[in-house]
Symmetry: C2
DNA sequence: TTGCAATAGTTGCACTTGCAATCAATTCGG
DNA sequence: CCGAATTGATTGCAAGTGCAACTATTGCAA
């Protein structure tokens, strides 16, 4: 869904007829339905949020995520690698994303004086202002498109379940 | 976040300090946590599944999804537009994906004799064989990375919740 | 009929992505 | 100290993506 970007979709159902009678042994139909539901929910919500954010603030979802990481960091700065891990993107992807954010004047990149291999990505005052301008609308959109679908207690249960799934798949992006 | 493809990540927490005291009015912390959990779970699982599928079968997750749609269709074929909607990708994206699948000999594209505007994408016997080869491993991977995290009853609840979220955001991809 | 609107797909374009190779700086073993 | 291994980040490359503009075909109205 690239969000834009990355492809988001899938269907696994009804493969039994093709694969043979034991397809449900490979993937429990209950699990298949849940998996499709996850892909569908994710795809629809992110697609909508992405275009709303781009229209209102000229910022991609990935831009927002990176800037959000910096906002919550000490002195509004992070090493490139730390930032890549935090934002769940590859190192090369981050390099180029920071290039673009730097062109906007939202982030600066400076070599670390103590260790010349390290580069700090730092949110600028202009970037902070852009983020402050974008965040309320984006957060409201998340509340509307995602948050309003379930009551709070159910939302907490959803969180616990999703975190269990995430925990089962904990591997760093940048091997 | 994705599969290749799409950026998958985010953090919304801890914005109150930056946005002012009322950030939690914009987005309930409960919702924020759930949203981050969704992005994280989706990103990690799809990333892993994507590379496993590519390694084992030379097929992207998007390829698999498109072929799965054809497998479950009448006569293994679908119109381009139907297929794009079903696979949740744009029309142009599908055009090029079918190009690539056709190069592999997995799908053919033929103009419809009754309505010259329509083109049928049809899974070939070779494509069906490739799909049959890929599906067991992929389904097992879904079962392992996603399905094994929760008991069945909880999985059903998760499905219901996710479908509610999806329903709140039901809009066709191709406007 | 004829000509305009609607529909189905494809293409031009600008961008984004990740992997592998590479460059640069630091650290560590001898 | 010095060269090899390690670590941090950037770049070449080959994809993949969506939007908007375009082509082709059909339908419909006068």
């Amino acid at each position: 869904m690239a969000t834009t970007g990355k492809p988001v979709s899938a269907e696994i159902e009804a493969l039994s007829a093709v694969l043979g009678t034991d397809a449900s042994k490979l993937l429990d139909p209950t699990v298949a339905k849940a998996w499709i539901a996850l892909l569908t929910a994710y795809g629809r919500v992110t697609r909508a949020l992405s275009s709303e954010l781009m229209d209102s603030s000229g910022m991609s979802l990935a831009d927002f995520d990176v800037m959000a990481q910096l906002v919550r960091s000490e002195e509004y700065r992070l090493r490139m690698s730390e930032l890549a891990d935090a934002a769940l993107i590859s190192k090369s992807g981050l390099t180029r994303r920071i290039d673009r954010l730097a062109v906007n004047g939202w982030v600066t990149r400076r070599r670390c004086t103590e260790d010349g291999r390290v580069h700090w990505a730092t949110l600028t005052p202009l970037g902070l202002r852009a983020f402050k301008g974008a965040a309320p609308g984006h957060l409201a959109a998340v509340a509307d498109r995602f948050g309003s679908a379930l009551p709070a207690s159910e939302m907490e249960r959803l969180t616990r379940d999703l975190l269990k799934i995430a925990a089962k798949n904990a591997e760093p992006i940048n091997s």
